[in-house]
């Protein structure tokens, strides 16, 4: 029964979490690894986690932590080992989506998190605040500033492309 629950939860959320983590990390392999690790940890404690009001918040938080701790260490080792090799190819995405991910990558982490929770996870500001452990007012102002910063990045990116084409 618990396994069945977990399978449904996993199947219903895996892809969405990968997209959200990809938007925050800018790397699809890292996003997939972090999400898989988070689900693996959730599977072990599923009996407890399934009783949470929002199990998906737990998994997302673990995935983010994995992405920015374990994977950072792993990446550092990998960078040393593969320094001479060219970087891995970017995900095969339409230009607009790649631009968005690149623009997000130029923002501070706390801006990326709030944007992804609001726009990709589709959470109301109150839940965004809850997941980030900040006050609702702080979440609102952070979201506004993040939105402005992202818009600026996207416009700057378009201008760069425009001037290059001219």
């Amino acid at each position: 029964m618990a396994d069945h629950d977990f399978d449904e939860f996993y199947a219903g959320n895996y892809g969405r979490f990968v997209v959200q983590l990809y938007a925050v990390t800018g790397s699809l392999p890292d996003a997939e690894d972090a999400v898989q690790e988070a689900f693996a940890r959730a599977s072990v404690h599923w009996g407890r986690i399934r009783a949470y009001e929002m199990p998906e918040a737990w998994v997302r938080r673990v995935a983010l932590n994995v992405a920015f701790t374990g994977l950072r260490r792993a990446r550092r080792v990998k960078e040393v080992l593969t320094r001479a090799q060219p970087p891995p190819p970017a995900a095969p995405l339409p230009v607009a989506s790649l631009e968005l991910v690149e623009a997000l990558g130029r923002l501070p982490l706390h801006f990326r998190q709030v944007l992804v929770l609001y726009y990709l996870a589709d959470l109301p500001v109150e839940r965004v605040a809850g997941e980030l452990g900040i006050a609702v007012g702080t979440a609102k102002s952070r979201l506004a500033r993040a939105r402005e910063a992202l818009a600026r990045q996207l416009v700057d990116g378009e201008e760069e492309v425009g001037s290059a084409q001219r």
């Binding site: 995405l93 989506s97 452990g133």
Partner: protein, 293 residues
């Protein structure tokens, strides 16, 4: 750019990326989880065995050495570990010694201390171990427990030896390593920690397939800061005492809510919470240069 435009771009991103995400079978994920769990248990088992062996030696050492005497190489400082309600598994492969209290009489509390960012009032961070212990014993009476570790400790992974003494929920930590409070080679007070569980209580007989049992909860003496914040204080009380200097986060170690009280870039006080709401309560707090997880 309007919010709706941004939302459309994010939706397009989701549509573009979703087909690229091939999820492994759920069974493979569960296997990965079980593998990770087995690795953790093996590490805990190994640590417990090392602990058991070392404890035997440690008891002998302590019975032959009534007062704390500095030994061992210096640790390096790694500030900012957060006390949590979860068990901190001891993963050291270095020698480790713990002791339980030998005093059967309850401690005679003759006073109290104030939890401060720079120490405990009667003993500031940097005070020599002897001076600090004398001052604290005069105020609090005999300690309930003391322990000594090299490498990983119940308070986090320290690169060098650490000694702890405890009164109720209050742990007072000493090191001979170089910290921002004291030089290499001089045993000095470098941190205090108010905790929910008895971190030094690790069963040396543990040898089963399941993780060791949770350490017992700590009760008794539980000091507070000058602003009245201590174990069991609510987030509302924390914010009332320290205002905008309080920052609450959720995450590692232990996937718990944590708080810091900052002055500028300096973390003066930090700890763990039962949650992130106003009614959540403090389950641990600490100050000083504590070891990392």
């Amino acid at each position: 750019m309007r919010s709706d435009d941004l939302r459309q771009r994010f939706e397009a991103l989701e549509t573009d990326v979703l087909p690229l995400t091939g999820s492994p079978a759920a069974e493979a994920i569960r296997r990965r989880g079980r593998r990770r769990q087995r690795t953790i248990r093996a590490a805990v088992l190994l640590s417990a065995m090392l602990l058991g062996a070392a404890a035997v030696r440690g008891v002998a050492m302590w019975s032959a050495q009534p007062e704390l005497v500095p030994v061992g190489p210096p640790p390096t400082t790694r500030p900012a570990v957060v006390p949590s309600t979860t068990t901190a598994p001891v993963t050291s492969t270095t020698a480790l010694v713990t002791t339980s209290p030998t005093t059967s009489a309850p401690p005679r509390l003759t006073g109290t201390v104030v939890l401060r960012a720079d120490g405990l009032g009667v003993a500031a961070f940097g005070a020599t171990e002897g001076d600090a212990l004398r001052a604290l014993r005069r105020r609090l009476g005999p300690t309930e427990e003391r322990g000594s570790w090299s490498g990983a400790t119940p308070f986090g992974t320290c690169p060098g030896p650490v000694r702890a003494v405890r009164w109720g929920r209050l742990y007072v930590l000493f090191t001979s390593g170089p910290t921002r409070y004291g030089p290499d080679g001089r045993w000095h007070l470098f941190a205090w920690q108010v905790d929910a569980v008895q971190r030094t209580k690790v069963d040396p007989q543990y040898a089963g397939p399941a993780p060791p049992t949770e350490p017992p909860p700590l009760r008794g003496y539980s000091p507070k800061t000058a602003a009245g914040v201590g174990f069991g204080s609510t987030v509302a009380e924390l914010r009332a005492a320290y205002g905008g200097r309080v920052r609450i986060t959720f995450g590692e170690p232990g996937m718990i809510h944590q708080f810091t009280v900052r002055r500028g870039a300096t973390i003066e006080l930090f700890g763990s919470l039962t949650g992130g709401t106003q009614g959540s309560t403090v389950t641990g707090l600490a100050a000083g240069a504590v070891c990392g997880e």
